[in-house]
């Protein structure tokens, strides 16, 4: 290996930087690499575990539920947060107040209190159904109807759109207003300006949000576990819950580890796809 010159603004040591990131490297080995290795070993310790998973209808049912959840939630959340961020970026009074209010739910995140509250809101005589009755819509059996149970979870996560909204807002702030002035003088309408200027310049943050939301949606566990228990008819039993059930309820460690690895693979493929489609030679990331 040829000599390489390491240029450091502080200190000259070739290894100073490496030393500084040592805690991170150690943590990577201890808390990621070793557990991952153990989990993988667990998944292959019994032969035929993966075949068993790939032959079980429970697995496909859960995968289908999870894919449906990801495909509905992620685009919905991105569109809503982008739309709200666009409105909030108009310089008007009180925008700060609205921004704070919209952000609060995502601060509370997966706090158990929020889940308990959500559970109450959607009971058959809860406020959501009462509201539907007010506008002449019949009550919905949120928990009992397999067509609706997943929506409780989707709505909870949608309610927490604040974090992606903030990422968009901060990105919008960084678009120089001269761009729009130019567009205006060129006789370009607002809608066209949005598609020609705003959207391309937001590409990085859309991409970022897309990846973050996809990852967390694929892993969804807390909400179905606490809200619906996976029912009715397993219509809300996500892969995360399947892993938990197999691992803790039925003691099928090998099966659970195998499902985790399949989930990992699916997430990786999804991320690579997003990467390939959405990102062509952007700067360092």
């Amino acid at each position: 290996m040829g000599k390489k010159f390491y240029k450091n603004s502080v200190g000259t040591g070739k290894y100073t930087g490496l030393l500084l990131i040592m805690p991170f490297v150690a943590g990577l080995v201890l808390f990621t690499a070793i557990p991952l290795g153990m989990s993988f070993a667990g998944s292959v310790s019994e032969s035929g575990t993966y075949t068993e998973v790939l032959q079980s209808s429970d697995f496909y049912k859960s995968m289908a539920v999870t894919l449906k959840y990801v495909l509905i939630l992620v685009p919905l959340k991105l569109v809503v947060s982008l739309a709200v961020a666009l409105i909030l970026s108009i310089s008007l009074r009180f925008m700060g107040v609205y921004r704070t209010i919209f952000y609060i739910p995502s601060v509370l995140g997966s706090n158990l209190s929020v889940v308990i509250m959500w559970q109450f809101l959607f009971t058959s005589d809860g406020p959501v159904n009462k509201f539907l009755n007010l506008i002449n819509i019949e009550s919905v059996g949120w928990y009992s109807d397999s067509r609706h149970a997943l929506s409780i979870i989707i709505l909870l996560r949608l309610w927490e759109f604040g974090s992606s909204m903030i990422i968009f807002l901060n990105a919008l702030k960084n678009i120089p207003s001269e761009y729009y002035d130019c567009a205006k003088t060129d006789g370009c309408g607002k809608v066209r300006a949005f598609f020609l200027i705003t959207l391309p310049l937001l590409r990085d943050s859309i991409f970022l949000n897309l990846i973050l939301q996809t990852i967390s949606a694929f892993q969804e566990f807390n909400a179905p576990y606490l809200l619906t228990g996976g029912g009715p008819m397993k219509s809300t039993r996500t892969v995360g819950m399947l892993i938990y059930d197999e691992m803790f309820r039925y003691g099928e460690t090998g099966y659970a580890n195998a499902v985790s690895w399949i989930l990992f693979a699916v997430i990786t493929i999804a991320i690579i796809l997003i990467w390939k489609i959405g990102r062509r030679g952007s700067e360092e990331f």
Binding site: L19, L30, I34, T123, Y143, P232, M233, R249, Y250
Partner: protein
């Protein structure tokens, strides 16, 4: 530069040491492989972990009993770990798999099969007879706690599911508590005008829906659903009869359909639901040892025990009993002597028994039962249930029947029927096959 490099070297030298510290990469060894700690014949001062699940009444009673213990044995501190039933077995299973379970645990009947099929998963209690007094237990009751021939656990109480009714609602409706299955079914029609259900059956963690259907078929055919050694006794046709029976109850308005029930209660337990508290659901099938929480939410004396149902010829067979719960000692405990002493206190001590009352059912230990009787504390629904069940010719539930995976099979079968996803013969066939293949699978593993 030199200094930095030295530190880096030290770090990288330490890293593998850190990792290999305690062989973290390996799955922990079982106590049975590394050697169980033998009793040393001494009582030392120590801290013991004690875990149980239950409702509020049981938590308070147990904490009170621990206070009594602390006065008797201040040198042995008890660290309580408790919660509701939902998620509890998952938690204990994680602990047992990693050998970090508490010293003494309240365990469920099926855990003997899941965690100690060879009798080595829990401490061998026959080694601890210096501290544990079994004189209050019959041989039959002691045998419930044996696994692979080894005494692993002691039964706290024996219980069976019985009917409990809201007497106010029944009086208002001018209805008698049912004695036969026919009576029960006819109640559905009688109550339907008022939109009241005479009974509640669930497919949640309790799974009373399948339980009652099994009793019905057992009474009818005289066959046991699952034998003690884990063989399916029902035929496919028996299973279909059970499912049909459930469907009859649902269609006849005796119980709410799964859909209505989920709709009204969501994830709320029955005894917390307005439907039960306000009386639009007027009956429940529950363990005598756990009925306390239902009793608590209604005005005093309103919940009453009803008869165990029979066929028209007065045949009351098929009803089931089981140890409601057992105490077991961890095979990994550091303090077998001290834990045994505490376990004896929980089972036999007068003051402890008084503190517990009937929050864990009518005690199986004759000493504890006497302590309650002497003080006139053997009252209430748990006692009533116990008396009635003693008169029946009961079947002991197989621990295999209660395995979580099996419960999932029953519950999803009932769910499918209730939601009209398939007809009962198709569901029966599926249930029959999944039970059989699962039982085969776990027996191979064990």
């Amino acid at each position: 530069m030199k200094k930095n490099f030295a530190v880096l070297l030290i770090c990288s030298a330490l890293l593998p040491a850190f990792i290999s510290c305690g062989d973290m990469g390996e799955v922990p060894k079982k106590a049975s492989e590394t050697g169980v700690k033998e009793p040393d014949g001494q009582i030392d001062s120590c801290k013991l972990r004690f875990s149980w699940w239950g409702g509020d009444d049981r938590h308070n009673a147990t904490l009170k009993a621990i206070d009594v213990w602390n006065e008797l044995h201040p040198e042995i501190e008890i660290i309580p770990e408790y919660g509701g039933w939902d998620g509890w077995s998952e938690k204990v299973s994680a602990q047992i798999n990693s050998h970090t379970e508490p010293d003494i645990m309240q365990i469920n009947y099926d855990w003997l099969v899941s965690f100690s099929p060879d009798g080595k998963g829990f401490y061998d209690l026959s080694k601890l007879t210096d501290y544990l007094d079994f004189s209050g237990f019959t041989d039959e009751i002691l045998s419930f706690g044996k696994s692979g021939g080894i005494l692993n656990a002691v039964t706290v109480s024996v219980t069976g599911r019985g009917f409990f009714y809201n007497s106010e609602v029944y009086r208002k409706m001018g209805a008698e508590y049912p004695d036969t299955w026919e009576d029960l079914i006819s109640l559905g029609e009688k109550f339907s005008d008022e939109n009241i259900y005479p009974l509640d059956l669930d497919i949640q963690s309790g799974g009373t829906a399948w339980y009652l259907a099994v009793v019905y078929v057992q009474q009818k055919t005289g066959r046991e659903f699952i034998s003690m050694d884990g063989k399916l006794g029902f035929t496919e046709n028996d299973i279909k009869t059970a499912l049909d029976f459930y469907k009859t109850l649902e269609d006849g308005g005796v119980i709410r359909s799964v859909e209505t029930r989920t709709d009204e209660d969501g994830n709320v337990a029955l005894y917390q639901s307005p439907e039960f508290i306000e009386g639009s659901v007027a009956g429940v099938l529950e363990w005598g040892s756990s009925v306390g929480k239902y009793e608590m939410v209604l005005p005093e004396g309103v919940l009453e025990a009803g008869n165990f149902l029979s066929d028209e010829n007065g045949n009351t067979g098929g009803w089931m009993v089981k140890p409601s719960m057992l105490y077991a000692i961890s095979a990994n405990t550091e303090y077998p002597d001290e834990t045994a002493l505490f376990m004896d206190f929980l089972l036999n001590n007068d003051e402890a028994s008084v503190a517990f009352g009937t929050t864990r059912g009518i005690p199986a230990s004759a000493h504890a039962e006497k302590a309650l009787e002497d003080r006139g504390l053997l009252t209430g629904l748990a006692q009533k249930n116990d008396e009635m069940i003693e008169k029946l010719d009961t079947v002991t539930i197989s621990p295999y029947m209660e395995l979580p995976r099996m419960k999932e099979f029953y519950n999803s079968a009932i769910e499918k029927i209730s939601y009209d996803q398939a007809d009962t013969s198709a569901v029966a066939e599926e249930l029959y096959n999944s039970i059989n293949s699962y039982l085969d699978k776990i027996k191979v593993k064990n």
